[in-house]
């Protein structure tokens, strides 16, 4: 069986959406003939003429345009060239797309693809994780697929939802992550998945960190530790129930995120578990994030900036000792 990568799944989902739903179109810089900076739209303009459209370098207008198109019944998929550049579309995302349904009763089903996260050498402006920023605002859905199958299924579902979705795809996974098929057994957006069962501690992760957490769990398994790894899949809505049920089994929680440490997904996860599942905890819930500096360029620094197999493992060991 042929291997498919995470980016293949993203491309394929867009292909299938264009094929199945005539309301879908794609808008973004260089998405047309060129097929996008990461080739996520390769070949699509040729196959679906007029529906894969090159945008000027105008992120604010791109989002506003998508909101307008959605009002008129379309389901735009907007590609940001890098998640980092959505900062200039931030206002339209949080204040126009995010408020539209609540204010007017008219939903705006737009999907904004955010190529997120670091790869060595990408530096401060091509490496950011922006999920926490968007999840803070009402009205936005924020998903963070970690597997090839989720990359496919969650993009399909994102475009089908009536709400604006920030689809945070991790650049590190694009070509590194491979699977036999992109058709997994899908869960709906809003449900987390236990990707590694265990009973000694729960590690909650999302996006690329799921794989680091899994590796840590596997290594610790050789020492007899059974670590349960939960892949959040979407950070808003956040599936508190699955996390809580896991902590109920393990009594210990580590939340792992690749974003900056102040606030964000790990704070939200710990805060929920501490508030609503305090009695389930046998030890202080822990978290590990990237460092509180811009994402550094040099691979030496970059590797030490984000959580790694080693630092996650150390954090789990510490958690088990508490």
């Amino acid at each position: 069986m042929a291997e498919v990568t995470y980016i293949d799944a993203i491309r394929e989902a867009q292909h299938d959406l264009l094929e199945k739903d005539e309301r879908v179109f794609i808008y973004g810089q260089d998405v047309g003939k060129f097929g996008g900076a990461f080739k996520a739209t390769q070949g699509l303009q040729e196959k679906f003429p007029g529906r894969v459209i090159d945008a000027p370098i105008s992120e604010d207008a791109m989002i506003a345009m998508a909101v307008g198109a959605a009002v008129e019944g379309m389901r735009p998929i907007i590609e940001m060239q890098f998640a980092d550049f959505s900062s200039v579309g931030f206002n339209q995302l949080v204040n126009n797309a995010g408020t539209h349904f609540y204010r007017t009763g008219v939903p705006v089903p737009i999907t904004v693809r955010l190529p997120s996260g670091g790869t060595a050498g990408s530096g401060p402006f091509h490496s950011q994780m922006m999920e926490a920023i968007y999840a803070h605002y009402p009205g936005l859905v924020v998903v963070t697929p970690a597997t090839v199958a989720d990359a496919y299924a969650m993009l399909m579902e994102s475009a089908a939802l009536d709400d604006p979705v920030l689809y945070c795809e991790h650049k590190f996974l694009y070509r590194w992550l491979k699977a036999d098929t992109m058709k997994g057994d899908p869960l709906p957006i809003g449900q987390a998945r236990i990707v590694h069962p265990g009973k000694h501690a729960t590690v909650v992760a999302y996006s690329a960190m799921v794989h680091e957490a899994l590796r840590a769990a596997e290594e610790l398994a050789t020492e007899g530790w059974e670590i349960e790894v939960v892949d959040l899949r979407s950070v808003k809505p956040l599936d508190t129930d699955t996390v809580m049920a896991s902590v109920a089994r393990t009594g210990r929680l580590l939340a792992v995120g690749e974003a900056f440490p102040w606030g964000g997904v790990t704070a939200e996860v710990i805060s929920r578990v501490a508030s609503e599942g305090f009695h389930l905890l046998d030890a202080p819930p822990q978290r590990i994030n990237a460092r509180d500096t811009p994402v550094p360029y040099h691979p030496n620094l970059w590797r030490a900036h984000r959580p790694t197999l080693e630092s996650i493992q150390a954090a789990i060991r510490n958690l088990l000792s508490l």
């Binding site: 307008g68 009002v71 008129e72 019944g73 204010r103 007017t104 009402p138 709400d163």
Partner: protein, 343 residues
């Protein structure tokens, strides 16, 4: 109360010049009457937040609304576009309900004052952040073009002199031009952005000089002159309809009120008020109506009376209606069932 008489253009129906002039003027009178009432209500503490009126801009805004066809065209109004809204066919009740926070209004008390619309009826609801309207309307038009339903529809949107400084406005204009969309972008240069005079806002001779830089046609008009506005906007709208791409119209006038009704606009020097920019378009228009034979003084008086009655009725209705009830509101920002935060 009886539904207010429809003042907007019918799709398909040809309209004579005289009819359009009359319709514009009546919308101006209605807007003027409504806004005077809203201002009083605000000053009496009956409206919270703020009231933003279009005094001095009734001709420009009304003329734009009158050139558009409800049910086909798109109108993205800004804060001084009561006359345009009325001419486009927004009901007075939509306005009074939103200002007075009626739960029966289009915004259900969730948003207020000029932050209202009916997006699916070609009347998007602005957010406060200035400049984004152009791109939003562009998206609406592009959607229709993809759907094959664009026909001869036109999208129109307004901006003040101040809004032209936003990055959003620039990006939208450029996008509209690249997509060659049937749009009319009206810039009301009313000499001030809140208290800021134009010389602190831009350094070009006229904002119309920006049109060429986007590759779009530019038009200038005296915004105090109703007939001139109707002519210039009429031809801009027709040019857009005819596939000539986005049209920029820059009108010169003066805001004849404060920025909002809390503001006395003391920063506007008497010399500016006395200049031709400070002409009251309502007075100019009234003269144009009678001297041009569009209406007699008697007809105008009757229209005023009708407007007063309609406004009174719309205010009374909205005032009797309930505000939103926090215990019954679903507090849900998501259209997808089950996505609401349980907080």
């Amino acid at each position: 109360m009886p539904e207010v008489e429809t003042q907007h253009a019918q799709v398909g129906a040809a309209e004579s010049w005289e009819d359009r002039v009359r319709r514009t003027f009546r919308a101006m009178v209605t807007a003027y009457t409504l806004e005077s009432k809203l201002s009083s209500l605000y000053k009496a503490g009956k409206i919270v937040g703020g009231v933003y009126i279009g005094r001095g801009q009734e001709a420009l805004s009304g003329a734009l609304g009158a050139c558009l066809r409800r049910g086909q065209d798109i109108f993205f109004p800004l804060i001084r576009d009561q006359a345009g809204r009325t001419a486009f066919g927004e009901t007075l009740l939509d306005a009074t309900r939103t200002y007075l926070g009626s739960v029966l209004g289009p915004m259900r008390g969730r948003d207020g004052n000029i932050h209202r619309g009916r997006p699916r009826e070609g009347l998007p609801a602005m957010i406060s952040h200035l400049g984004g309207g152009v791109a939003t309307v562009s998206g609406m038009l592009m959607a229709r073009r993809m759907q094959g339903s664009l026909g001869t529809a036109v999208g129109a949107t307004c901006a003040g002199d101040g809004a032209t400084s936003t990055g959003a406005f620039h990006e939208g204009l450029n996008l509209a031009a690249v997509e060659h969309l049937p749009m009319v972008i009206v810039i009301a240069n009313n000499q001030y952005a809140y208290s800021t005079p134009t010389e602190r806002q831009f350094a070009c001779r006229s904002l119309v000089d920006r049109a060429v830089g986007y590759g779009m046609a530019g038009h200038e008009v005296d915004g105090t002159d109703m007939l001139a506005c109707l002519e210039v906007l009429g031809s801009a709208v027709e040019a857009a309809r005819a596939g000539k791409g986005p049209q920029m119209v820059v009108a010169s006038l003066l805001r004849l009120s404060g920025h909002g009704e809390h503001d006395d606009a003391a920063y506007v020097p008497e010399s500016v008020r006395q200049s031709p920019l400070g002409r009251d378009c309502m007075t100019v228009a009234e003269t144009q109506m009678t001297e041009g034979g569009f209406a007699t003084a008697g007809e105008i008086a009757a229209w005023r009376e009708q407007a007063a009655e309609d406004v009174q009725a719309a205010v009374a209705t909205a005032q009797q209606e309930p505000g939103p009830d926090p215990f019954r509101d679903d507090w849900n920002a998501y259209a997808t069932p089950g996505f609401r935060e349980q907080t």
